[in-house]
Amino acid sequence: MNLMRVIIFTWEYPPRIVGQLAEYTNVLATQLSKNKIDTYVVSYHPYLTGVTNEPNGVKTTRVANPVRTHIGVLTWVLTLNEEVERAAANIYYTHKKIDLIDVYDWHFIPAAVTLQKSLGIPFIYSVESLEDHRSHGADAPSNMAIRGIEWLGFYEATVVVAKSDWMRDEIIKIHNVPREKIRIVSQNANGWINNVMKLYAESSGAMGKR
């Protein structure tokens, strides 16, 4: 049987916990692995770097930023993306096939976009929060740049995932994303993991082979 292979990109993953995303992606990866999906996680950690085969069957790669000194979150994120690309490329060249990348929030959208354009790996953009809400609509150049990266993600993703109707409407309102491109997947709904897997299967086939 042809196993489905998925990489989750998330900037927080246990033991590094910043907000709710770390726990959510941990539960997701564990459940996917339990359901016979070959599951990889690429995340950031300042020093616990490298590849780990977790007891739950998930394979994690944690990367550090090769540039230690930064002047803002943008330079930090944009340099870190190169390491995320390197980690994902290593998985790709080991197996010659990745079906899908599931990207959480804007941080690793640049890496996902490059991987899609270069190696033909489709990605879905799972929205945890938006810059407009985090910065209360501030319009400084750094907010605009982050919003621009979010927009790039919405534009290039095969499917956009929101966790609620409200978030879907916000995405449509702020970024003009077509309604039919956005799917709602809630952890609280019945059959959550089945819904996720169904979505993965649809999204990975949607792109075709490049």
């Binding site: 944009l78 690309e85 490059t114 354009k117 750094s142 605009m144």
Partner: protein
């Protein structure tokens, strides 16, 4: 492996976008590589009026969206621009069936784009280090400078070979990033003397009148108005020169020190002797260099010193500070004059020496011109660079990435 490699050059500037020396370097290097059989794709920033794709002298040039939304600062812009550059270069490489053998990055300004492309396509990355942050700033003092320095370090670490344009720069880069000797290669920068041929003399006279009075000698400075280029040293030397020679000082270029330099000139009461010409289009600059009675390169830090070579190609005598690549280009009293760096007395002495002896002046300009024709020849440089590509691909073919 075929002997004719395909290379993707990444550069933040390429004509008509000209900010510093990288733009002409990448232009002539790419064109000369194409002449010796290397297939070259240049991926560079866009420029108003320039097409997004064109073929120039056998080189495929692609201009990317350089991120024109306001940026928090220059360094952050560089990384945002690199996001776009990498995205478009990745799509281009994929559209060529991934048939790019080598990615060649010019300076930290395209570091993140180049590093990512290397890993994603698993092809060798080469870097040409035209300069370093620690050299430009005489050390790293702020978070921005440190970040740029670390990015340069990462780029050189990730590169199969690091090319520098002078022996001085090889030593400097080795020291700055702790690189092993066998990773560094010296390939000189080139100059195109043909650009200065066929300039009509009448046009020169009228051009000269735009800049100086007939009785004034014309002293020319060409460079960005930033600390390391040393325009401030020249300006402080002006009163001493004027004690001996009647001259007009023409400052070509722009930069963050412009207003500061102008205020110094004003405070000395020398506005009538100094002309800030700003940025000049290439044609005009070539002719102005040909008219100059002396070209001054007073840099405090100069990895190579292309502007000295250009002046020599224009048969203009040169006075340069004895530092970095300039020390290697100029032979004192033969192909130019070398003076102590950051020393106004010494610089004034050099300018006066050239301007007060017509015979000496024509002798050093003749010698300088002959020297650059032999040594700094783009055809020769392209062959050396192609040799590096072929060597790297030979080593690569034995690696597990191949």
């Amino acid at each position: 492996m075929t002997s004719d490699p395909t290379v993707m050059m990444l550069s933040w500037e390429y004509p008509p976008r000209v900010i510093g020396g990288i733009s002409p370097h990448v232009y002539f290097l790419s064109k000369s590589l194409a002449e010796v059989g290397v297939k070259v794709y240049v991926v560079t920033c866009d420029f108003p009026g320039a097409p997004t794709h064109e073929t120039i002298d056998g080189v495929e040039v692609y201009r990317i969206d350089s991120y024109k939304t306001p940026s928090p600062d220059f360094a952050t812009w560089v990384y945002l621009m690199n996001l776009n550059m990498q995205k478009e270069a990745a799509a281009l490489t994929a559209s060529l069936d991934k048939k790019i053998d080598i990615f060649h990055a010019h300076d930290w300004l395209v570091a993140t784009a180049g590093i990512g492309l290397k890993h994603i396509f698993r092809k060798p990355l080469l870097a040409t280090m035209h300069s370093t942050e620690v050299g430009r700033r005489d050390g790293v003092h702020t978070a921005t400078e440190k970040m740029i320095h670390e990015t340069e370090n990462w780029l050189t670490y990730g590169s199969w070979r690091v090319i520098c344009c002078s022996d001085y720069m090889v030593q400097h880069v080795k020291w700055a990033f702790g690189l092993p000797d066998n990773k560094l290669v010296m390939v000189p920068n080139g100059v195109n003397p043909r650009a200065y041929e066929n300039i009509d003399n009448q046009a020169l006279d009228s051009l000269r009148r735009e800049f100086a009075l007939p009785e004034e000698k014309l002293v020319l400075f060409v460079g960005r108005l930033v600390y390391e280029k040393g325009a401030q040293v020249l300006i402080n030397a002006i009163p001493k020169v004027l004690e001996k020679v009647n001259a007009k000082f023409v400052i070509v270029g722009s930069g963050y020190m412009r207003d500061q330099l102008y205020n110094i000139v004003k405070s000395m009461g020398l506005e009538h002797k100094v002309l800030f010409a700003g940025f000049l289009e290439e044609e005009k600059l070539l002719r102005l260099q040909t008219c100059a009675d002396v070209s001054v390169v007073p840099s405090l830090f100069e990895p190579f010193g292309i502007v000295a070579l250009e002046a020599m190609a224009a048969k203009s005598p040169v006075v340069v500070s004895d530092t970095g690549g300039l020390s290697e280009i100029v032979e004192h009293d033969s192909t130019g004059i070398k003076v102590f760096p950051n020393n106004t007395e010494s610089l004034a002495w050099g300018i006066i020496r050239v301007l007060s002896d017509d015979k000496f002046r024509s002798q050093i300009s003749y010698n300088g011109y002959e020297k650059i024709k032999q040594k700094y020849n783009w055809g020769k440089i392209a062959l050396e660079t192609k040799g590096i590509y072929v060597n790297v691909l030979g080593e690569y073919s034995k690696s597990f990435w191949a």
